[in-house]
Symmetry: C2
Subunit: 335 residues, 2 copies
Amino acid sequence: MAIHNDWDAPTIAHMACELVIGVDGGQTSTKCALVACDGRVLAYGQGSGLVHLAAAGARERHAAALREAFASAWTNAGLEPQPVAAIGLGLTGVEDNSPEAALARQIVAGLISAQHIAVHSDAYAALIGAHGNRPGIIAISGTGSHILGMNAAGELARAGGWGWLLGDEGSALWIGRSGLMAALHAHDGVGEPTMLEGLMREHFQVKALGDVKRRVYDSSFGAKGFAALAPLVSQAAAQGDAIAQSIVTQAARDLATQVMAVQRRLALPPDAPVAPVGGAYAHVHGLRAGFTAALCEINPQANVVDPLLSPVLGAALIALQACGCRAIIRTDAVD
Amino acid sequence: MAIHNDWDAPTIAHMACELVIGVDGGQTSTKCALVACDGRVLAYGQGSGLVHLAAAGARERHAAALREAFASAWTNAGLEPQPVAAIGLGLTGVEDNSPEAALARQIVAGLISAQHIAVHSDAYAALIGAHGNRPGIIAISGTGSHILGMNAAGELARAGGWGWLLGDEGSALWIGRSGLMAALHAHDGVGEPTMLEGLMREHFQVKALGDVKRRVYDSSFGAKGFAALAPLVSQAAAQGDAIAQSIVTQAARDLATQVMAVQRRLALPPDAPVAPVGGAYAHVHGLRAGFTAALCEINPQANVVDPLLSPVLGAALIALQACGCRAIIRTDAVD
């Protein structure tokens, strides 16, 4: 372990090394990990979800979520809150070097004493975690979708991530919305019959499928409402419904196409690791297998891998780097 | 001309026959036509646009728009406001026999004395006008899209019209959004290069295409914001951009597919007339020709025709029918 750090460590009686914190701030929850500078993960903490920093009251909400996450991590580690060497954050709705990133840095600085504060997008933390800060690509498919890659020169390229109104192809919301549209097409006689028609009627508890229109146009529906329909497509696909299967296949292809675009733009070798990241791969029947198949069809040398580290540990890795520490993160102390 | 009417006409010194009114109530404006029971169109009137009747203040807004339209029609005809035999209305956001239709009827009854008030959807009035109350189909492509048909038994069938979040395939908003998505795909390296990338940057006056995201997610953007991008796709298609042309071709195919679904469901003969209706055909380069070509490809006997009458005169025809009058509408008095 090599620590390149000019930080004047406080005397910590019960620990031989300094600490860093990684934060994965998502819309559902804020996770944090307390990691020793030798790479041992000491504890995890959790707080409430974040909203976009431009939203009303977002500043207070971010501060509360982070305070909560930090506090539970200290408690879980059996440690008193104390200064840390660095904090790395991957936050939803924050682009690297944006006004939001500067604001997030301010908020964090008001909560905890840290020599380095590195604020990034949630996707960047996931990328650094997935490939342990080495070149590679992640294909995120959760509620939304987003492809991000990094080459050996540290250059980044992204594709997709334009949100629910402009695509997010291959994501849970895209799959769910495509399922509802396929059901409406079947209803109209425009598309082939599909069991999605019945599943959607049940889900919305309507007698006539046309009655879903009112619900979908309610302002509270949005991306999350569509994403909640993805399990119906998954169920129909698992039961052999050809329309549902074709939606999942198309989602997988769209993700693969975006991955290849990022690979080309970064001039990555054909066997650069590609990690599927996000809940849709676990919860949508056939998506992960379809993604691998679609990628191998375009690029026979495609190298689909599991992420090495979770996004929150990716953020911790960013923190370790920020204080010049090259430790390898080990989760054996908590897992 | 046969008038089957038990209405006791008031003595109108300067006119030999009774009057009906047709109303085409859209989101942009409310048009009305004053028609004599012998079918002569006497004058048109215009008022402001309508909002969905479920919206706050919609009742007052509808009343004001209709009052305005009626008043200008009377003025243009050089007549004093007077009772009419019937009013036929085709209104945006109103389904036949819906609570909104009942509410619209109430509003109209409070504004003018009429023996018959027939409230329908705007699409129904357009259909009745397009084929002079005879069997046929209309393929509406304006901001949104919607297919409606009627067979000889008077049965109706529709396809599409699910709105901007669920398709409206082939409409101006669909074409505009597809154009923006194609520009983003080109930007990401996911899709082929297209002049749409530059056109979209100019339209939004942004240096980096990625900056459009904020604008599109503003709550004021919506369907109209996307529809306003259709002229860019039209421009690029006219200049030979292959991506833009493929969007227009797909729009035309989607409309044709929906028309065929309605034709099948109504068991209409293959040469039943199909009328393209709405601004997108006039304003999007290649859409009308593409629609005809796509329809003829699926159905060699396809019979694409111009609408016989405008939607507002379709509404007037509904009014004439409501009072049992079989007159043929003639526009020579005003055109």
